[in-house]
């Protein structure tokens, strides 16, 4: 085996978004040696794209809020297939995690009496999202970054992990390559935390960046971890639809929180026509009440635009399919209308939604203080992911492997509420860091044999061998990626059905074959073609997991909607869909009962009905 540069840490964290940074801070505070590996530069991770806010029951704006309401909202939003223990911990611990950010320098918008301001968001009963205009994610990541760099964490930027290293079942490190130079490096660690985010790049229309290729999901799966809930992919209702080059870029739910309304080409506020029974008592039935809610009237119920994302996305799709969509295939999202209600509306909009104003002005020549936006659903988030223990975030099947944030599953169930991801990453990032440090303190160094390292390195370099061998005739990686994205969008998208998903499975088999033959050229230094070739198996793995899980769940629930099983089915409400890799390399799919919720939590749900 060639001599590879080797780094040794007690805890290795893969991914430097909010979850990874929070885990790194916690682990290093526990006194262990921490390494942080990330694909991009520090502070560029997808967390910066989170706009609306961090959900935490601080009760600064409405004192009726508390963890019990937040817990019940999260479970209702997730259609009760969530890991209830994670939802409980999340609701209880989020306020403390937010206050901690303030201690580290975050500057949230303020209430008139000087406390952290909170805004309304879909599915949250009370104004609950601590925010900074519409750039909350940037504030969060920068705060963690600027605090973390003084903690003595070894940061390895622009490295991609190609495999986890194992000693028996235990995970003891990772093999990565440095994107700049193309060199492989071995990272040995007593505990490894995956915080790699989501899988949005498996779809054509997505709010996610190139990084979101399901790396953590795939690394864990290949190493023998289980993935659960993979059928639940969140399509955010409002992405940009025009011009084509910006299709999918996120338009924050904060627009609707501030009073933005959804209309079709007939000028109708179509959301009033379709309010699910579970939300009837909490939802306004007239525009006036909805507006009063957005203005902070505690006696008003929220407008139907603030129903959960899965539902709003489907209503938008229905309007478009019924021919009431805009010329560019979306619906209208109008915040400019509030000028009827407030004299200084343009100024208010620019102050509360500065980056939306900027984004539309610059990329679409639209002034959102004067005209409506055109929006449509965009692939945004995956509720499913690596199965972990709720308290420790360790995977049950692989000791020493932890996961947190979007790549871990459980808290969100069938649909995530807006604002719950920023709170998820700081609550469970902290827990993962804490328990990974503890594991590292209690366990010695493991050993990974050279054979697995050499095999992974060789596999990673195969696209170059093919490029050299075939003299430029073999297919490059980009077309395979495009074809996958197109297929997942068409066949395993917002509205699903058995026959289409079976076609997707057949298509995936062909794409696996093509991915195994792609060739790249040039050399290993900062070669995006090669990087894409290495990402492909990850994208294919998560796409297959999504498709197989979606076939298995023969009902509609949360973000998973099936044309051929339009209703919820109580028997599926009691199970999670679990996938894992079998010894022969194939993907096993099974249903597993959700553990019974303890009485004290059942009681909370009952009270909040």
């Amino acid at each position: 085996m060639p001599e590879y540069q080797t780094h040794e840490h007690d805890v290795l964290i893969i991914g430097a978004g909010g979850a990874g940074l929070r885990a790194a801070i916690e682990a290093s505070a526990a006194g262990v040696k921490v390494g942080l590996v990330c694909k991009s530069l520090l502070g560029k991770a997808h967390t910066v794209m989170a706009e609306g806010g961090i959900a935490a029951a601080l009760a600064n704006v409405d004192d009726r809020d508390n963890w019990r309401v937040h817990f019940a909202d999260t479970m209702r939003g997730g259609q009760y297939v969530n890991n209830w223990r994670m939802a409980e911990l999340h609701a209880k611990e989020a306020p403390e995690r937010v206050r901690e950010l303030e201690k580290w320098g975050a500057v949230f918008d303020r209430t008139p009496d000087g406390r952290i301001l909170q805004r309304n968001f879909g599915g949250h009963r009370y104004p609950r999202l601590a925010h900074v205009g519409d750039r909350t994610g940037l504030e969060l990541i920068r705060t963690l970054q600027d605090h973390g760099i003084h903690q003595g964490i070894d940061v390895h930027m622009e490295h991609t992990v190609v495999t986890l290293l194992k000693d028996g079942d235990r995970v003891v490190g990772a093999l990565a390559y440095e994107r700049e130079r193309g060199r492989f490096k071995i990272f040995r660690a007593k505990a490894v935390v995956l915080a790699t985010g989501g899988i949005g790049r498996a779809y054509k229309i997505t709010s996610n960046s190139w990084e979101y290729t399901g790396d953590g999901h795939a690394l864990a799966y290949q190493a023998g971890a289980e993935l659960i809930d993979m059928e639940f992919v969140q399509f955010h209702p409002t992405g940009m639809v025009w011009p084509p080059s910006v299709m999918g870029i996120l338009v924050t739910e904060g627009v609707r929180g501030e009073g933005g309304i959804l209309t079709n080409t007939e000028g109708k506020r179509f959301m009033f026509g379709d309010i699910p029974d579970t939300y009837k008592t909490q939802t306004a039935d007239n525009p006036e009440e909805g507006w009063r809610y957005c203005q902070g009237d505690k006696n008003a119920r929220r407008p139907p635009e603030l129903l959960t994302r899965d539902h709003v996305a489907r209503c938008i799709v229905r309007e478009i399919k019924a021919g009431r969509g805009t010329p560019h295939g979306g619906v209208f999202l109008d915040i400019a209308w509030i000028k009827e209600k407030m004299p200084d509306a343009p100024e208010y909009i620019r102050r509360k939604l500065p980056s939306m104003y900027h984004q539309f002005k610059q990329l679409a020549d639209i002034d959102i203080t004067r005209e409506p936006m055109e929006v449509g659903p965009t692939t945004h988030y995956v509720m499913g992911g690596i199965r972990v223990d709720a308290d420790t975030q360790m995977t049950p099947t692989l000791p020493g492997l932890f996961a947190c944030g979007e790549c871990a599953a459980g808290i969100n169930g069938a649909n995530r509420l807006g604002g719950n991801s920023l709170s998820d990453i700081i609550v469970f990032g902290k827990r993962a860091g804490e328990y990974a440090a503890k594991f590292a303190q209690e366990n010695g160094v493991g050993a990974a044999d050279d054979a697995q390292i050499e095999a992974a390195a060789r596999r990673s370099l195969e696209p170059f061998d093919r490029g050299a061998a075939e003299g430029g005739k073999a297919e490059g990686p980009y077309q395979v990626q495009y074809d996958l994205q197109e297929m997942m969008q068409d066949l395993v998208g917002i509205v699903r059905r058995e026959d289409e998903m079976q076609r997707a499975l057949a298509g995936l088999a062909k794409l696996w074959e093509r991915a195994g033959k792609v060739a790249v050229h040039g050399h290993r230094e900062y070669n995006p073609g090669w990087h894409t070739a290495i990402d492909l198996p990850n994208l294919l793995t998560v796409s297959e997991a999504v498709t197989r899980s979606a076939i298995e769940r023969k009902e509609s629930r949360g973000a998973h909607f099936r044309d051929d099983f339009e209703d919820k089915d109580a028997t599926f409400g009691k199970v999670n869909i679990v996938v894992r890799k079998l010894a022969d390399g194939s993907m096993e799919v099974r249903r597993e009962p959700i553990p019974e919720m303890p009485d004290h939590l059942k009681q909370v749900i009952e009270e909040m009905k």
Partner: protein, 249 residues
């Protein structure tokens, strides 16, 4: 009929390189980064460029477009002339890695020299603080920074004079201003600004403000007030006199 434009992209590494022309079809609403991606996918798989969010929020895709430091993802093709080749080259203030990618690690190292946030004790028993929105407005302006480093790139102190060892540059002065003007912060950084951070090198040509994609008023709102603090502390003649003649305790 599709319209085609030519992009003259710098290709090379630390040892040298040259511009190469790529023609690619363009469509409505396209930004420079779209063109680069098209070229990367179709003609030059190994063309190196950084990018992430493609929405002006992460600050990864900084480059010089027709000589002007910009984010590629926020530069619409309809804002630049397409009847001649569009030149795209890497930032000049940092060492080249490959093609459009530069080694910006200096920025991360230099940031460590700025003393971290040190809050006063909490105002309330639950560990929280009280701050008025009007008192944080200016700090929030600075905290909009996406660390694209375009201001560092355009700053002649770094770009032409390579004072990276003595001067932290506009980005990190904005960072320092956000800490110094944070209502809760109690740390002392003025002496560092004068000595280690080289604020005196800035001669307020405001180039940084001009290129900032977040429209942060870098010079007027961040650097000049910091310069005033340095002046107050070290160059106030009356204060100097007082220091000389004050009774020693």
């Amino acid at each position: 009929m599709s319209v085609t434009a030519t992009f003259r992209i710098w290709r090379g590494d630390a040892h040298g390189g040259k511009f190469e022309d790529y023609a690619t079809p363009i469509s409505e609403g396209m930004v420079v980064l779209d063109a680069v991606h098209q070229i990367q996918a179709g003609q030059a798989n190994d063309l190196a460029c950084r990018w992430n969010c493609k929405a002006g929020k992460c600050g990864s895709c900084s480059a010089e477009i027709n000589g002007i430091p910009k984010l590629m993802c926020m530069t619409r093709l309809n804002s630049i002339p397409l009847d001649q080749p569009v030149t795209i080259e890497p930032m000049k203030a940092f060492p080249i890695l490959r093609d459009l990618v530069t080694d910006v690690s200096w920025n991360f190292a230099a940031k460590l020299k700025v003393k971290k946030f040190k809050p006063r004790p909490p105002d309330a028993p639950d560990g929280s603080w009280r701050m008025a929105q009007v008192d944080i407005d200016r700090v929030q302006e600075f905290r909009k920074c996406i660390e694209c480093f375009l201001c560092q790139d355009v700053c002649h102190v770094l770009r032409e004079h390579h004072k990276h060892e003595e001067f932290i540059g506009p980005r990190l002065l904005v960072y320092t201003a956000a800490l110094e003007m944070h209502p809760l912060d109690t740390e002392e950084r003025v002496a560092d600004l004068k000595k280690g951070h080289g604020i005196g090198y800035c001669n307020i040509t405001k180039c940084c403000t001009t290129v900032c994609p977040e429209n942060i008023t870098i010079t007027d709102n961040a650097i000049i007030p910091l310069k005033e603090r340095v002046v107050d502390e070290f160059f106030d003649p009356l204060k100097g006199l007082w220091k000389l003649i004050r009774p020693k305790s």
